[in-house]
Symmetry: C2
């Protein structure tokens, strides 16, 4: 062993002990005939004092940043204590030392506020990983991993490894494939998730399964997507939705407790998907703050069966509202005093291409005494179309109080809904309503089972093809033909209203986990595949093993998978999952440190009996 102690553990109680430390040189400070060195390892930083005699040796063997140093000496109380670090009361009076390895000058500083840009730090990831900020992220990741495993273990779950070299059954995302040398012309696929395997394990009687497991999706990468990512993957048999919700509410609370020291004692809120879409404009609302959406004019989507309040805006000859597919509003607290400049800036914000609105309508709910009026008044950018009374009615419906600013967007359904949702988050950010140290969990329930695919004029699975409809909707599903005969009227097809036994867990506006109760009857599973446009042959080719398994006593079952990278990022207060992955890939799916992917030898291609066929398109 190259050391007796780590750089994080010595205290005043160790005074006079002879110790040996090993670590990296963080800083070298020369003061005349003596030198101070801060020695760093995973556990902390300890100050080394090189006295006059050793100083001469140091002059011949100068230390540089990131040199690997082994030093032996006595622990001494420091005269000049450093209250900022746990070892700050002591230093080591070095009696001998060895330079274990030298270091070139690192391309960026190994500090919390490093001077290295993203690309440089990715290329030298092994140096970036030395920074305390990154280390804390990986430590948090390990703590979450450990807490989840311990919770699941104590609840009788078993970690069972599922295979990585499986069969390609692309549904939704693309598979990564692996050519088989032993079976020329054939390919394995890397799993997008262990979905079918965990279901087989339920059929096999392993009624509580978990795995912290790598999954792979060959998608066009957006920021914050990785081609390989990790799931906490779980499945249970003989359960109903309520059992899963309770079990995994327990898991996340246990993670909060173990990792963050937070007692999340309240019951996790629940919300139907319809309510989430209706009140927040998206299916993963941040409920740390209210600011609910008022549906002035109901979006057309069948998926939300609620009544709007269009009477509030109708008959005013305001074309923008009259012609819009949907009109949505939020009440932003305490912003009624926004200046013209500020409302103009907000208008510009919603007109940016990322949001894509044509404009913004606002109503200021001016409190009494403000703007020279006694009773409170309503000022709006659409004053000439709406009386103050009508403005008040709209503001009231939006939950606006004196001092609030009502923001109204109008346009085509999907874009406008996304825009109001983005605007809601933006205003909350500006108002400091999204506190990093506040955590608010939410179950979103009762998702639609199907989504309409316009291009193919057919149904696609909103979650995945193994999700069970609500028991009350099974009959609707079985007894109706999935074919949509009239594309314009797809909303009237009975399938449009079928709800899934599916659930998402949302944390502070991010989906951290999702799952469902599964289909476990062959007949219903076949109906589902058929509804998604798969003929018998394709069903058997892709999922014959699962349909076969359902013949031999499949129990009712369901499960959930957590996006482990994202969960860690949110718990670590970051937007980026990359910061919580030891060796992430960039947005082009490249590992710039390894320089991978790369060309391979002709010999490898020959052995695999494949050829590259790059056409450049």
């Amino acid at each position: 062993m190259y050391r007796t102690h780590t750089c994080g553990e010595l205290r005043i109680a160790d005074n006079n002990k002879e110790v040996t430390l090993a670590g990296w040189v963080q800083t070298v400070r020369k003061f005349g005939a003596i030198t101070f060195v801060d020695l760093r390892d995973r556990y902390g930083i300890t100050q080394l004092l090189f006295g006059e005699k050793l100083n001469k040796v140091l002059e011949e063997n100068p230390l540089g940043r990131e040199f690997v140093l082994q030093a032996t000496g006595k622990v001494n109380e420091r005269s000049n204590k450093n209250a900022n670090i746990p070892t700050g009361d002591i230093e080591i009076n070095v009696s001998s030392f060895t330079i274990l390895n030298k270091s070139a000058v690192p391309p960026f500083t190994i500090q919390d506020d490093t001077d290295g840009g993203d690309d440089l730090r990715m290329k030298y990831r092994f140096l970036d990983l030395r920074r305390n900020a990154v280390k804390k992220n990986l430590e948090l990741r390990y703590a979450v991993n450990r807490a989840a495993r311990n919770y699941l273990h104590s609840n009788g779950f078993m970690d069972i490894e599922t295979p990585f070299l499986i069969k390609s059954t692309p549904e939704g995302a693309r598979d990564f494939v692996v050519p088989s040398r032993m079976n020329p012309g054939q390919f394995y696929a890397l799993p997008q998730s262990p979905q079918t395997f965990k279901q087989l394990l339920m059929v096999s009687g392993y009624d509580r399964y978990y795995q912290v497991v790598k999954c792979f999706r060959d998608e066009d990468l957006r920021a914050d997507r990785q081609p390989e990512f990790t799931q906490i993957d779980c499945e249970m048999a003989f359960v109903e939705q309520e059992d899963i919700l309770n079990m995994f509410e327990g898991m996340i609370k246990s993670i909060f407790k173990e990792v963050k020291g937070i007692d999340y004692t309240e019951k996790v809120e629940r919300m139907t998907w319809e309510d989430a879409m209706w009140n927040y404009g998206n299916d993963k609302p941040d409920i740390r703050f209210s600011m609910k959406v008022l549906n002035l004019k109901k979006p057309a989507s069948v998926y939300v069966n609620k009544a709007d309040q269009s009477s509030l805006i109708n008959g005013a000859d305001f074309k923008v509202f009259d012609e819009a597919e949907t009109v949505l509003a939020i009440a932003v607290p305490g912003c009624s005093e926004y200046s013209r400049k500020q409302t103009d800036e907000l208008t510009e914000w919603v007109k940016r291409p990322q949001v894509g609105m044509k404009g913004l309508v606002f109503i200021k709910c001016l409190p009494a005494g403000q703007a020279g009026n006694a009773d409170g008044t309503y000022k709006s950018s659409v004053d000439k179309f709406y009386s103050e009374e009508r403005l008040k009615a709209i503001a009231d419906a939006a939950g606006g109080k004196a001092g609030d600013l009502i923001l109204i967007l109008a346009g085509v359904e999907e874009r406008t809904r996304k825009a109001i949702s983005d605007l809601r988050m933006e205003m909350a950010n500006r108002l400091g309503l999204r506190n990093d140290n506040e955590y608010k969990l939410l179950w979103v329930l009762d998702f639609p089972l199907f989504e309409y695919d316009e291009e193919g004029n057919r149904w696609v699975a909103r979650h995945h093809p193994f999700t069970s409809p609500k028991p009350s909707d099974i009959e609707t599903m079985i007894s109706n033909d999935p074919v949509i005969h009239n594309a314009a009227e797809y909303l009237k097809h009975p399938y449009a209203n079928i709800k899934a036994n599916a659930y998402d867990m949302v944390l502070n506006g991010n989906e951290i986990g999702g799952g469902s109760i599964r289909i476990y009857q062959r007949e219903l599973q076949e109906k589902m595949f058929a509804a998604l446009g798969m003929d018998k042959e394709e069903q058997l080719h892709k999922f014959g093993f699962l349909l076969g398994a359902f013949e031999y006593g499949a129990p009712p079952h369901g499960g959930i998978a957590y996006g482990f990278d994202r969960l860690c990022a949110i718990l670590g207060g970051s937007e980026s999952i990359r910061d919580f992955i030891a060796f992430p890939k960039n947005n082009s799916g490249r590992d710039v440190m390894l320089d991978a992917p790369a060309t391979i030898d002709e010999k490898q291609l020959r052995e695999l009996q494949i050829k590259t066929d790059v056409t450049g398109d």
Copy 2:
């Protein structure tokens, strides 16, 4: 929840409780107007009693094997108790039941002694997994996983995930590769192990790393090899070999304790590679029994620098020995009374193609009183070449005692050494010296750093290119040219004698783990790569990131990896790792349940810009 209890937990203390169970129908036994059903789940079996009234319902809804059943009723004390199962004192007097799912008649019985053959059970793996024998294996696997993690965690190790989509750097085994759609013409590789990543983590300061991780090797499969397998992968910084040996001796003992309830208190034995090869003919000896090999005529290999005892056989004009490259013997205890038939059978055994010897020489050490002689005599198949005195001298040298049978093999080095090693194991099996419930660990140390590759007339790494030579051999390595100018005299090359800082952990004759202290100096690593025939350009292309990392303060480090599948198999008393993998592949690398690998869509190939190019050779 579909149940209030599992099928394994009810006891006499639960008498009269109203309970609901859910599980699989193991057996149905009708006795006149009542029916007994054994209901099975992961936790056990509970007997259900269907009385007269329900029996009629049963007649209309007959139960079959493997039906999924939910049953509610009262716990009753059984009149006819079954002492073989923990729930044998009680039964459930069923008041209502639901058939949750039916089952076709399974293709084999779900019992310990199943009637299903290997292929059938692989195809219906989801049913095979229901068998108690297989379940016990997976439970043991999880217990080993858990014990290893707990030990490593309590010793400050961190689980850090390394990437699966990396760069192809084939050294030794072939890589599985993954075409990149986003980078046409380029490929990722799946890791053969996280070797370089864990070393980078050491450079990054994470001084204790572990991972239970899938690895991939595209090898021609032999029995008991899988294209994907799992390692317990560990690495430590600021350590010497002794630290690693102690740490992982601790881990394996902790696994013994937690998983098997065995207190393995003695110190794990240690043996040099030379001694292992010399005394046992292989580098993973089973030391539960002695039966050491006598090197009558030393094998030519430079790797064993020991003196033989050829004077014992020389000058007898026995051509077989005189002309053989090597002559090796073992003393088999208590077999001196073997009949002609038995020695003939042994001779046939060594002549089988798998062993490949031309014959077998034996010496019987007949004890006094046996075979009609008073003092003890020596009878041999080579009586006419060797006097009884000389036979005695050979027997004595082999450690033979009165009553032993000395078996001698002669031939070319490698085959003969393997044959004596096989014969030793075979005789131990026949004599019951390999007790499944006895566990004997061994560290094999001081492996050669290099092996000679005859075909290329060059050195290859015995372990891998990152293994450090013994500190005392570094100078030899640096100051000598690796080129072998005279192939016939490669044994005289200084590299032939360089020993590695490498170690294997052996359990009952199986290598369960192996590792080494690593090179951490760029210069030495470059020398190693060069010694293996890699020019500068290739070094930088394949391992530039690692060489680069060694520039920035790499600490001394080393590690070990355990073959998790094999470790579990040995602890479970099996020869086959497949029995300990939930979804294994067959010997052609196929998953016969999934029918993978398989052809993929033309569209997938087009997107990947590759073509299959199957030539049929």
